[in-house]
Subunit: 387 residues, 2 copies
């Protein structure tokens, strides 16, 4: 097992009517900015519940944070926070709202003579303070509610990049599975695929005998495989929604990745697809992962076999056959969730692959994966095999 | 799944030479009291490493905290903390030192006109502040390094009772598996059994469809079963020690118990055995658990079958046979670890059972278990069947 430093300070308030715990989490004298997305939290009534829970506090609102939250939009909120002396940020929504609010939190207190895009360019390394934030989660997927990472896009330059810093980790997360009943099926499916791939990125590398980490990762994968299709079929089954929600949080709060190698190449290749073609984040993961698993079947051999056996119960055939079956099972799972796994399914013929590789190069993504051996040439093969 | 409020704020610094991270965790102007046990940390050199890491800080020492730490001993440290204006406590040792230090932390700042034993009597409910503390763990077992609970004994009255409060949760835990190489086999075995039973107490109840919790609990149990005997056979196998250490922490940091019913009757019945007869904590658990599983085989039926199948691969026979085999496998595991499972193995003939029941009664332990249906009469049957 590798050494690690693990800190998971976000308080999780989980369950039906967990909103009742919200008020106690925010200082009574706070000036609160509620951030949200395209307005679904208004339609579903979640925003009203939040406002009602915060009745009597000094509250402002900022809506309109889009999927793949953009620097351009977020900078408007940064101005608002600075002008209005906001002291607490409450993100109400899914991963995009969470990620965008993390950027707002850090950018608002960033030196005013530096363009806050610098936060993204430096991967968050020079953040020294941020406006404290909490969250009310409506879409289980990214795990952003209890980690210190965020992914931000800049439309003007076609960039999509991640930053991390402990100062932007939410203090608390309200997780009420009932809030997810009204999600469109596409978002439910995307969330399940996203959480699944987060887990794989921290599990499907090379073995370091981290048995707790492996068992926990396998437990998350099994839960998503069991409950993902049920979440689509039975949208108001509380326990199913609860299991998916808790799985997504546990998939990316640092726990299963502590002490083991991590990959993240699927995400990096996926980010470029979203930035260039506007595909949903989870769609890009479903396209890249099966292709990457096949391309890296030799260096990932031991974990592919373990994953196939423990998660998919694949024990028949020789090693290559079992690995083939394991990759096929993974692809089939994404397809059963309704998330297609080829570029052509999204009307892409692969002609943009050179441009995608140029963007990877520009972003320094030339030695990806747990061994740093996914060069631009390997990335090209992964994209090409995903056509 | 049940609602829950989960907070796991203890920073984990895990791995070889994690002691290098110690200094940065403690305020530079702190007046530190290092607490430890019977002196093994001197013999093994761990205390020297700690002192060396803290060189230049204002440091005091308090040794002699015994297994099942006593009120009588701890009150001497409370006096020291008060007289010397100690501002930070650093527990160096295992669960007893941790638990004892939690008591010291709360008692030192407790109203001076109230006997701090009141902290235990009120189960920690009225603690409003405590001296901040951290830990350097040398014995993986209790999970006390990253939770808010402690168990304290009072020799003068033969009491052993638990208290909990967030104010006594350690800020950090240094977990270096190498520190456990020199542990006596009996302590290694006790630690594995203790962690195993902690997991069972939060898992073997009735199903609430908490799939992540179940999978994680099963992952911890499987890891302890795989690695426990190897820890005895290969004391300097780093990965084995690392897996046992991480399993023990995860078994009782709140995670697997969040959102599911909990039992804890085995611990309550065990505490009375330790208080009256001085048995090791883990010995009492190994005595009580198989007997309790058998006594509660009907109300725990579904989880017993799931546990048998997923952890012990027991799938043959009818339900009663599978439950019998599951209980036998559990008992056999404890025996293989060298921890005996009958009262008679410790020279006890059961004649103290009425006195044990009187103590349970005195401590209000008359409706135990996840359903509150373990009455004194059921406890009597559990003790008697464990003879």
């Amino acid at each position: 097992m590798n050494n690690f430093n693990l800190h998971t300070p976000t308080r999780i308030l989980f369950g039906k009517n967990a909103i009742a715990e919200l008020r106690a989490q925010i200082p009574a004298d706070a000036r609160v900015l509620i951030t949200y997305g395209g307005g679904s939290v208004k339609k579903t009534g979640v925003l009203d519940q939040v406002l009602s829970a915060l009745h009597g506090l000094d509250v402002l609102e900022f809506g309109g944070i889009e999927p793949n939250p953009s620097y351009e939009t977020l900078m408007k909120a940064v101005t608002l926070v600075r002008e209005q002396n906001v002291t607490f940020l409450l993100a109400v929504g899914g991963g995009s709202v969470l990620d965008g609010t993390k950027f707002i939190a850090a950018a608002a207190l960033y030196p005013q003579d530096i363009d806050p895009w610098h936060i993204v360019e430096t991967r968050g390394s020079d953040i020294t303070r941020a406006v404290p934030m909490g969250s009310v989660l409506t879409l289980p997927a990214t795990g952003s509610e209890s980690n210190s990472g965020a992914v931000i896009s800049r439309r003007s330059t076609g960039d999509k990049q991640a930053f991390m810093n402990p100062h932007v980790q939410p203090l608390f997360a309200i997780l009420d599975p009932v809030y997810t009943y009204t999600l469109p099926p596409r978002q439910v499916a995307n969330g399940v695929v996203d959480a699944f791939v987060h887990t794989i990125e921290q599990y499907l590398t090379y073995p370091v005998d981290g048995r707790i980490q492996d068992r926990f990762a396998e437990g998350i994968l099994l839960t998503l495989i069991e409950e993902g299709p049920r979440a689509l079929a039975e949208p108001e089954n509380y326990d199913v929604r609860a299991n998916v929600m808790w799985a997504a949080t546990m998939a990316l709060n640092g726990l299963i990745g502590a002490g083991v190698p991590q990959d993240w190449a699927t995400h990096m290749l996926g980010h470029e697809l979203t930035a260039m073609h506007g595909l949903d984040h989870a769609q890009t993961l479903a396209i890249v992962l099966p292709s990457l698993m096949n391309e890296k079947r030799d260096t990932k051999r031991e974990k592919l076999l373990q994953y196939g056996e423990r998660v998919w119960n694949i024990t028949e055939g020789n090693e290559q056959q079992r690995i083939d079956a394991t990759i096929a099972a993974t692809r089939d799972f994404f397809e059963r969730m309704g998330v297609k796994t080829h570029l052509s399914d999204y009307g892409l013929d692969g002609s943009s692959i050179p441009a995608l590789l140029a963007k990877l190069d520009e972003h320094g993504m030339t030695a990806l994966g747990e061994r740093g051996d996914i060069t631009l040439d390997i990335s090209r093969r992964i994209y090409e095999a995903a056509r």
